[in-house]
Structure formats: C-alpha cells, structure tokens
Point group: D2
C-alpha cells in the first residue's frame, strides 16, 4: 500500500520505542525485505458477523522456471489444520505460495490456491501440486461456520501481493484474530544477519491468535495489568499462531527445519502459554539460488537469533497495529492500550530511544 | 451393495485360491468386519475423460456422543496431499470419517466432508474440526485437472456407507487408479486375531495406485511375465497407495502408529517399489471403547501380522476385482489376466485349495 | 542432604524474591516434590582439571513390580548424545532411572547404569534394558577428554538418591557446567496444578549449560549488563541443556511428549539463544498408577504452564546456587553477581515480596 | 580375508543360484564395493557360553580432513538401543565409523569407539563426538549379561577393517544372532545403479536377528517347511535387524533418510514379521564428495530399488553363510538346510541359472 493511499498506518513497535533484540532490522522491517518475497491480503468484512480474510506470502521465484524452493515446517503444537505438511517434510520444498486464512476455510483456500497454480503458464500439464495453507481460528469475532472465503478472495490476495511492506493488524487472515487478551492480526519484522560471511536477510510474518500473558520487552503487559481485572478479550478455543519465515540465506531443508523450530520458540518471548488448543506452526523457506555453496550448520546461530527476534517483533507489530474490533455475537476484542503500555515500559526502564 | 442388485461381483483373491498369510480372515474378509465400520463409494464416470470418485470409511461411533477415536497416521512416503496429518499426530485421534479421492480433488473433498460434519446433530457450535482425506493420483485414466468431485459426491459416499462388504475394484476412489502395471482400485480384507487374550478383528481398505512388480504369493506376476514385454499399463506420475486400517482392539494412538507402520510394510509383499513419487500413507484407528484395559505392547504381534496380511490381500483384491478400463486421452489399463495368473501360480505350487 | 550436614545452602531464586510465574510451587519447590522421585549426585572434582559428575533421577516405582513408567523425550535441538531416545519414542516408557553427566562420559554412565539395573532383584533374567542418559558438555571447566566418570560414581549417585530437595548448583552433573555467561549447574523447581479436577505436582530438574543472554523476570541480566563488557564466561562449544520433568498426573506417553516440548520452550524465558551446538532435550515421565483414568488433552494447560514456569525457575536456581569456579586450563566461570542482579530487578520493578 | 587364509568360504546366495531382484550387483556384491568403505570384525567366542562380537563399518574418508559424512537413520521399529540417533537426525551426518554389537554391550562399544576417535590425528582438541552403534540381541546363543566385549575387541574390528569383501555368517556382531528360525549373522550385498546419469554403487551390510517366516525368492522356506514342525530355532526376545547402507551417490541427509526407509521395507521380502520386540534400524551414509551437484529426488528410484534388493540379498547371505551353532544353556540354532532349500526353489521354478 503506497503511503498516500489511505489513512496513516498505525505506529509499529519500533516506532513506539519498542525494539526487541540486538540485531538490526531490514529496510522495511518486514518479510518483504527478503528479495523476491511478496505479500498480499484479502480482507473480508461483512455486516456484524464476518471478520476474516486471506493473506498470501508469494515467493516470486516459484513459477515456470523454478518449481520448488527449499522449505520446512516445524510443528510447535499440531492442533491445527495446516495443509501440505507431509509432502514438505518428505521432499523439503514448497511448490506454491503460502496462504493463511481461518480454520474452517482452510480447505477452500487450498482448493482455490491449487486452481490458481494450475492456470499458471508452465503448469498446463501439471497433475500433482502440494499447496501450503495455514490457518488460525477467528471464530470469536467472525461467524467462522459460514466459511465465507471464496476463490475470488484467494485470487485477490495473490494478485495484490506486493514487495512493499505489508499492511499489518486487522487485515487479511488477521482480520478477526485475537492474541494474548487483545485484538491481534498480521505482523511482520525482519533482521539483517551475516551467515558464513555473507549478508543475509530473514523475515517473518505472523498470524497471531494465541493465548498467554502479553510480555513486551520482558514486562508483563497483560490486560490484567494494563486495563484491569478480567478486562482482556476471552481466549477463543482453537487459538493458534502461524509463522512464516523467509530468508535469502542458502540453507537447505534440514537447516530450514532447525530455523523454523526457533521461530516457534520465539513465541515464548511475548508470553505464549503454548496451550493445548493452539496450532503453532512455522513454515520456513529459502529464496536462495540452489547453486550457492552449502552453509555450515555452525554458521546458523545468527539466523537462529534473527528468527527469535523477528517473531517477537512481528507478534508485537500484529498487536500494536490492530484496532479494537467488534464482531460476531457482539463480541469485542480490545486493542492494546498504547499509553498504558508505554507508561509501564518506561517505568520498567525497558524502552529504547524510540 | 446387496447381492441381487446387479451383476455378480468379480471373484476375489481367496475365491480364486489365492490365500496369503496364515491368519483367518473375518466373516466378510473386509474392513467392515470390524464392528461399527461402514464404507460408501461415489463412483464418478463422465464420458471418456473422467474416471474418479470418493470412498468414505465411516466409523459409526463418531458423532454427538463420542467425538474422537484413537488414531495414527504412518507416512511411508510423504509424496502426497493427505489432509489432516499434523493434528492426528498431535492429539492421536480422528474426529471424522476418512475420505479417499483423487489428488487434485482432495481439498474439495475435505471441504465437503467438513460441511457434512458441521451439519450433524451435536456439532451446532463446533468451530474446529480436523477432517482426514487421503488421495492418490488417477490422472492416467481421468482428466484430473478438471477436479470433477462435488459436494454431492462426498455426501453420496457418506450417505451410502454400509456395514456390508464394500464393492471393490473400479469403484469410488479406485475408479481410475492403476497399480503394478494393471488396472487397480479399491480392495479390502480382514483378519481375526487374539490380542491379550481377547478376540479382535483388524480390517484394511486400500486405494491402490503404485508402482512395482506385481507379486502374488511370492510369484512374479508382472505384465512382463503374464502378458508380454511392455504390455503393462505405464506408471503414472504421482502413483501412491492409501491404506486405512480399522480394529476393535483397545490399542492407543501410539500403538496404532506402530500398527499403521506395519500396514505400509505390507506393500512390499505385493511387489511395491516404494518409488519417489508414491504417496504411501496408512491411517489406523480403533473403535474400541475407551474404558477397555490397555493392551501391552508385547501383545501386538498378532495385530502386526494381521496388518501385513490384510494389506497384502486387500491389494490383491483391488487388482483382481478391477476390470480393464479406458479413459482420458484414450489411455487404457488392463486387468490382471486371471487365467495366466492362476496358471503361473499353479506351476509354482503356490495355490491353496481354493 | 539434611540441613545440619554442612554449610548453609545458597539462597535460591524464590528466597531472593525472584518468583517467576503465577502457579504455586510444591513444598520443596523441587522435582522431589513429585511423590516417588528421588535425586542423587556424585560430584567429581580432581585437582585443577576435573569438574564433573553424575546426577541420577530415580523413580522409586521402577523395579521388580513395575518395569516401566510412561515417558517421552522431546528433542529441542538434537546436538547431543542422549542415550536411549529411540526406544522411548517407540514404546513410550522409561525402564530405568535417568542419569545426567558429561558428554564424553555418557556411554560409560550408560554402561554403569545398565550394570546396576541387571543386578537388581527381579532382573536376573533380563537381557534387554533401555537406559536413559543425558549429557551436556562441561569441557570448558573440566578435562572432559579424560572421561573420569567410573562405575562407582554412577552407583554413588543412584545409592544416595533421596526424596529430600536435591542440592543445586555445582554438584553432580552440574559441577562443571556454564550457562548464559555464568557458572551454572543443577537446578530444580516444581508447581502444584490441578489436572482434570485432581491436584497434581510437576517437578523439573535441569542441567544448565547453554548460551544466550540471561533474562530474569524479563530483565536482561547478562554479564554485559551486570558485570561489564566481555565479562561473562565464554560459551563453550557443545553447550546444552538437559531437562527432566516428572509428574504424578496420569498422563500417557503422547501427552508427556507434549509436556516435554513445553519444558523446552521454557528455556526461552531465561534467554536461551537455542544455538546450533546446544543439545536441548527434555525427558518427561509420569509416576501415576497405570490404572488411573485417562486425562483429556483439554485438561493439560495447567501442566503445560507448570512446565514452562518450573523450567524457568529451575534454570534460575541452577545459576543462583552456583559459585564461581576455576578449572581446566585455568579457565574460570563467574557466579551471577547477586547484588547487582537484585538491584537491577528492583529498578525494573520486577521483584516480588521475596 | 584373503582367499588363501583359511577354509573355503560358504557359498553365498547368488553362488547357489538365488539371485533376487533385477539390478546388477557390484563387483564383490558387498558393501565394500562402495569406494572408501571398509569392514572389520572381531569375533568373540568363549567356551560354551559366549557367541558375540563387533562389526565395524569404516568410511575411510572420515578423519582429519573430512569430519562428517551425510547420513540418516530410519527407525523401522525402535525397540533397540541404537546409540547416536538424535544427533544424526539433527545434523544429518555421521562423525565416526558405525559399529554393531550385542544389545547389552552397545554402550561399552560406544565408549570404546569414542576413545579410538579421540586418539586419531586431528582430534586432539575434540571434546564432542557422536558415535553410532547399533545392536541386536544375541542372548539366545550367548550369555549376553556377561557383557564380554572389551575395548580391544572394538579396536580389533576397526584395525582389521578392509576394503575386501567382508566375511559373512557367524562372524563379528553376527556370531550369535538368529533370524527367521535359523542361525543368522552378518550378510552383505550391493547393486550398481545409475543416478541422474552417473553410475553409482549402493551396498548394504546386515546384522540379522529377527522373527518371521524365511521367504526366498517368494517361496516359503521356514523351518516348518524345510525341516519339519517345530524344527526351527526359537525366536529370542529382543530380536532385531540392523541395516547399514552405503552409497557413493551424492545424496543429502534427507534423501538418505528416504533411502534408509526403503532398506527397512526390504525386510518384508525375506519374510520379516516386524514384531514388537525387533529393533529394526537402517543407517545410510554417502561417501560422495560434498561438492557434487545435488541429485534430484525424481532420480532416486534406482537407489531405492537397489536398497530393497540389496537388503533382501544381504539377509539371505547372512543366513546361507551361517553354520549351525550351539551356545549358552546348550541352545542350538540350525543353519538353513541348503539342499532342502534348493530343492524347494527348483520345484517352484524360482531358481536362476546359478
């Protein structure tokens, strides 16, 4: 979204002085900092009942010339309907963009993404393709049983995918999600890191929808503390977190699996309770040319830290850019109260120069 | 299908004197011998191009009273689009019937099965459900890219599910499949076995669509041998085998995982080459009451052998009951030539009393 | 160690006012709060070069009457020589106490533990037993290549195992370990929690030896901050963390696997960087009678939180009870400076009533 | 063993006309056909009670220059004490030769192998190394509880490792093993295969010790059939099969995992019942230079078939070269009766030109 196309964007964590970690973010502090990664959203809001959507993470290299990218999926907690996991595990690649949506629409989105792939040039004879779709349950704010996502929504997310920093908060697959007691949504962040002597970028996009106590820079920022007892949004069942990790480091599928695992660990930094009903998955892929020299595992620590930090900041961005939202059955999820948060962080001496 | 509703069924392996293994089959020698397991098919044949369908394995216990059954999935080779795997792994249960279909229709079938579940009594407030759908690629005989499976087909397979011995061969999800150089399809078999002192039944249903050299009772029965050089059906890409295992033994999810693995091993007995492109998955579930005493692992050998033998016989049934079929792009898959096979088995002294 | 047998023990985290989490600790705030769990140490210090040992976690139920306990191992990062993992995964049980030691002594300890088991009453005819031994690399402070652990050390740890709160810090398998820039060692903690309506206890014992930035109650307490630039102990290669989780909740092996995973996630709370070279494993077992009713997965959230919190506090205990130690090649690992830490926590408003 | 150093070797399967599969064997039809792979044995026979030993598979490339080889372990059935599995899974490499021995000696062998590695040139500062040791239970013929394997035996197997075709049958780790009702032991076989246009070799070495009905070229050759009712050797508890697969194809760890899985599937071809108590593991490694171009997965079918066939033939070799053996507690395991077997195979028309 170009800056002149709408209202000013909500300020992100780092703009508020909340700068987790020690590594430097990429230019846009977004997954789109990884060259060749685009993101698009379809936001679906209808009346009082529907608050949902689709977010597509599109590696532009995938297409007629290059049919696969090295990839891995780490299952932090498998309570979720992730589409495509077993083939990614077997072959160590993704063959399509990654789409995110609502739980009960996951299979519709998978079918639509499949249709879109089959129509692409170079895929005229393709009879087998493994689509990857993640989901979280937005049924607290949205009438999820209506399954409102259509083929057109999926195509919209794919068609509008852009290399610009993606919108965050209540957009796309994050339109109706709730995390850590607050309205949540889509968030993104990135880090620059040197891997085996080469500068690389790692970016993360999250669809946040999970339970726990919001922790910002180590400080308890749960609704109990910032708002008052029982003030937070109730935790919906089936709460979850989808993490998408992209990098241009020339890591292989096994190494991406190690990286994806660290992305999941990063959820602890913002206070996830890793509950039974949370489908916590991380999908990591590399856009690097397959001809690059292999990266020794001993060089991965920078990437690992980048994943931890990017997940932390992306979740904070998903919360801080979201706005208080009402929806299905008149339920309401409140935005993180920024002033109260910043006051509390200041008291704890946790704020950076901002 | 009641016996009077159509032409006589093709003779199954055992009726031809081909009786693999040492354990006794169940009454119908079918997965439906396991009490509470029903099977339904929707066979989809349109003009010259469409040879596909849906097969549903329906545990009747699943419903308003009992929301889950212990289950496990074993991935023999993960080149496949199996829907629902990660949640089965995490929670050790299935929540829905298991549906089988064609690769590119898997997500449509998943969405239709989901819709059917949401409409069931007792599921009015359900906002999360993990459907399980397996697939193999019938694109050799069917125009798989058209994705002809509809909601109605899935509902037909579910609605017609019956406790009778299911039809085999070119029906349901086996309408267009090809295995070991011959026309294949759906097959089933079962075994009686004692587990920790209690009589139990184990049944298997296969959707056979994989590469290798057909081996019957240890005898090479590949097209090279039975028909002539280069006589067999070409192996389509994405060939695979789905195995569904049901038992009334009171085994838990971990034990079902061990059982599912053995089901996969059973494919070696009929000559599978376990090729790169074969999505070989086994889904095992138990219908036993959850209050039963746990079964010691040391008592599982009977069930393990039952799985090996039932898979062997079910694959043979899928081939022997299938008929020569023409389809998409005028391709043709020939049925196993029975006379030639029986002659060869007789020569090798491999036939039982028949 | 009875309270009158030596110098006063170092104060633990909670005694200093550092009380992470929201759940109530068990009576001793130790893994030995779980009924039937004993812990013993053999501390091996020789001259300037050897700083190592063995710690044994002994479930008293294991023996002639009960040959196994439900158990699971979660591999956070598999850079480590954990002994016994594959059989625990297959059968979902442990058959022996769990022993912890130094990397290059793991196999000696495994063999000694095996010998001890074979001598126990009721094991006279046993010809197969799966010992479980974890390790971390104490080669920074100890001449690990000398492999000084003997059969006698293992027997000492087993023989002295007691239901009292175990010693922490520089004892047993923690004698030579270093974590987060400070001298570390053995730590323990526990939580009371209700599971499906029944009061249960979960206890954790850690052998801490991993890299990252020490984070206490969310506050950065790394050597950079508390001591000064480059003040911390260098991170040894092969740094790792072993986590042992015990509970009397009647959870099965699959559920213990879920629990063990959360234990690993808990390392993020104290600042682990989950580096490449860190062997991070969690072993969880249940002492519950096998006749107990199964626990629904939806009741596990309390246990999951207990695991997260107990790991956090156990690691803090391992650091706060450790003392500055010199060793091999005149290397030195400093203890966490308590005054500086407490000052910093007070400044951040993070200290409890203590 | 040079041909003139002792009695004539027993004839192997292929020398008897038993030639399973369709691919051409390597020059020696042995794992040592893979360039850079050596095998050594230490056979330990003492009085009437000890029938055991050590077999070492030594990749000569491992040493000061090259510290790791790509590798993977597939767990067919995890009832076994395999040493080193989790690190191989995490890092995708082996760092040492692979040693095979008896169950209760596995940790002693691991410790001895570790000591040998630490003494090698270039390992003077090594403080972490992941040894890989497999085992099966030879307790039927050997007093396994005595744990007679010493450091010297391990060094003998390593020192005598040779690029010649290894001895088979009752040698090394196969001295006391029993499989499929007969005396078994060590066996080996190999295949030539083209992978992505390049000629490659795949070799297998087995330590066979598992239950089932011996099946030779598809023909039932169990003791019931060849000898008479109840004639076979009783199946010892803890029976198992270790499979080691070496190739010079430039496959990576993920691909080696796929290959190792197929090796396990190959056990079905000789009649394995994949029983509960059988520790069935396959370890696959590649000796290819790391600079080779990656092999597409679609090119792996030849290697997969080579693994299936080599395992089948290696197990047959392990049985056919073994001799009737008496041991502990006057137990006796009979060799496969060759004449009866060959007669039966001839009757079934299964013999090749021989």
């Amino acid at each position: 979204m170009p800056p002149d196309s709408g209202p000013p964007r909500p300020r992100r964590a780092r703009e508020l002085g909340i700068a987790p970690g020690e590594l430097a973010p990429g230019r846009g502090n977004a997954i789109t900092d990884v060259p060749g990664v685009r993101v698009g959203h379809a936001t679906v809001v209808e009346g009082d009942d529907i608050r949902t959507g689709v977010t597509a993470i599109v590696p532009t290299a995938l297409g007629a010339d290059r049919r696969t990218l090295p990839a891995a999926i780490s299952v932090g907690n498998g309570y979720g309907k992730l589409v495509g996991a077993t083939q990614v595990a077997e072959l160590g690649v993704i063959e399509t963009p990654v789409a995110l949506t609502a739980t009960l629409s996951a299979h519709r989105v998978a079918d639509a993404l499949l249709g879109w792939m089959l129509e692409r040039p170079g895929y005229e004879e393709t009879t087998s393709i493994n689509v990857v779709v993640g989901e979280t349950n937005d049924g607290f704010l949205s009438d999820i049983r209506r399954r409102p996502i259509t083929d057109d929504h999926v195509r919209e997310a794919l068609r509008t995918a852009s290399a610009d920093r993606p919108d965050e908060g209540c957009v796309g697959a994050g339109t109706g999600t709730v995390a850590l007691g607050y309205k949540a949504g889509i968030g993104t962040a990135s880090r620059h890191v040197e891997v085996a002597g080469s500068p690389c970028t790692l970016g993360v996009l999250v669809q946040s929808n999970f339970a726990g106590r919001l922790t910002v820079l180590g400080v308890d920022a749960s609704p109990d503390v910032l708002v008052g007892p029982d003030a937070g949004s109730p935790t919906p069942p089936g709460n979850s977190c989808m993490l998408v990790v992209a990098t241009d480091a020339a890591v292989d599928a096994r190494q991406l699996g190690r990286l994806a695992k660290r992305a999941g660990f990063g959820l602890a930094r913002v206070g996830s309770h890793f509950t039974h009903g949370s489908g916590d998955y991380a999908i990591a892929f590399s856009t690097a040319s397959p001809t690059g020299a292999p990266v020794p595992d001993a060089s991965l620590n920078g990437l690992f830290l980048a994943a931890l930090e990017s997940v932390e900041e992306a979740v904070l961005n998903s919360l801080l850019t979201a706005t208080t939202t009402s929806g299905y059955r008149s339920r309401r999820a409140i935005a993180v109260p920024r002033e109260a948060l910043l006051d509390r962080l200041a008291d704890a001496g946790a704020l950076g120069p901002g």
